[in-house]
């Protein structure tokens, strides 16, 4: 029997060739679109509610210029153009994975009421994203509590004192505080503020991305 002797080059070429031939039938290397998840863990997470952020907290973060999180508006582009919370960037649920979100970033999601944000939260969680948070009750709550806070005339002194603080926050974001319960019905006619960072804010990151390149 003659033993087959290959030179270094021939054996390397053979290995490469074989790996290439099997590659044709090896299937799709992109496995990112399917996910396996620990449902028990997710249930506990939901129960604990540690991933909720209130609108008051968010307002506070924006005023203080906190920049360690990305505020993501998952509504449609049109809705986003009409109004969005300052510093937010628009990533509709459908394009969640085109947006190059990093798994180690702190992501705060919001939608009109919170349903879409919660669904996006679930999708991201299933993909092993670590720090995903939801704005509790969404943009509706933001409008109610931050932009157009209201107070009835019969409120106690304590409540009224707290309301003074709310008024400052509201003005900061260009909203209109409402005093007197009778006026509450007019809320709908109140002007939605223009989308821009309030004056005097420390870090106007806006919607422009400042992602660092990873290339050469």
């Amino acid at each position: 029997m003659k033993t087959l002797k290959l030179s270094l080059h021939q054996s390397l070429a053979l290995v490469a060739g074989l790996l290439g031939i099997f590659a044709i039938v090896a299937g799709n290397p992109y496995k990112g679109n399917t996910a396996t998840m620990n449902v028990k863990e997710l249930c506990l997470l939901v129960e604990r509610e540690t991933d909720h952020i209130s609108v008051d907290e968010l307002a506070d973060w924006i005023i203080k210029g906190k920049a360690d999180f990305r505020l993501i508006d998952v509504r449609s582009e049109k809705e986003f153009a009409e109004y969005h919370i300052p510093t937010a960037e628009n990533i509709p649920v459908g394009s969640l994975f085109d947006a190059e979100l990093m798994r180690n970033e702190k992501l705060l999601l919001y939608s009109e009421g919170g349903i879409h944000a919660a669904q996006a939260w679930f999708i991201l969680k299933a993909q092993q994203y670590k720090n995903v948070f939801i704005l509790r009750d969404g943009l509706a709550e933001w409008k109610d509590r931050i932009l157009f806070p209201s107070i009835s005339d019969s409120a106690t002194a304590e409540v009224k004192q707290a309301f003074e603080k709310r008024k400052v926050v509201s003005k900061y974001f260009g909203g209109t505080p409402i005093t007197g319960a009778s006026e509450v019905s007019q809320t709908k006619q109140l002007a939605i503020p223009k989308i821009q960072m309030p004056s005097g804010s420390p870090a106007p990151t806006g919607t422009t991305k400042k992602k660092k390149k990873e290339g050469c």
Binding site: A13, A26, P29, G32, K130, E214
Partner: protein, 201 residues
């Protein structure tokens, strides 16, 4: 295994810099081993007397490509988390042509000039200064070039997407092409080094 490790938060930004340094050492080591610290050896690629550049580059490309493909297929690496840069077709073609000209004139590329400089090649050190000047010039001219620089933006396009064939088939075709290229390179080398009187090492 959850890889890429960094994307799964196995370590932080600070540690990643140490990783960068270690990976860089490996990179520099193999560049030097291949002879890429020598401008003459690199430039010889364009005179067909020594096709080491082609051989090393394509071997590296197919090694990493095949490795990444199989690790992904086996579920060990999440390929969708590996950063692919965006394609801007025309600026990249023009940039490539300019870069090729610079390669022949200067004898190095940015990575290899670092190796050349650290192994004592004075021209490599001067080349590094040239790169810095070139980048500065580009930066200064950027307002004028911006429109061209951002033209033909195609996003992340890979060859499998472009041709509409499976990733594995592209991997196979690239390997086939490279192996064919290697056979051709050996033949060309033999032919041209005889013509110019021996291989310069």
């Amino acid at each position: 295994m959850n890889a890429p490790f960094f994307k799964f938060d196995y370590f932080g930004e600070e540690t990643s810099l140490i990783v960068a340094f270690i990976i860089g050492i490996g990179f520099g080591f193999f560049l030097e081993r291949a002879g890429f610290g020598s401008g003459r050896k690199l430039a010889a690629q364009f005179y067909l007397t020594d096709l080491t550049v082609f051989k090393v580059m394509f071997t590296a490309v197919i090694t990493a490509m095949v490795g990444l493909f199989w690790l992904s297929v086996l579920g060990l690496v999440d390929l969708s988390l590996v950063y692919v840069s965006n394609t801007f077709l025309v600026p990249q073609i023009v940039g490539g042509l300019i870069l090729g000209v610079g390669f022949v004139i200067g004898g190095y590329c940015p990575g290899t000039s670092c190796v050349a400089a650290s192994t004592g090649k004075y021209d490599g050190m001067i080349y590094l200064l040239g790169i810095i000047a070139g980048i500065f010039a580009f930066g200064e001219a950027f307002p004028l070039l911006k429109d061209f620089y951002t033209s033909t933006a195609m996003g992340k396009v890979t060859l499998p997407q472009l041709f509409g064939i499976s990733y594995g088939l592209v991997v196979f075709l690239v390997i086939l092409m490279a192996l064919g290229g290697f056979v051709g390179a050996e033949w060309v080398e033999k032919k041209f080094s005889v013509k110019s009187g021996g291989v310069r090492k």
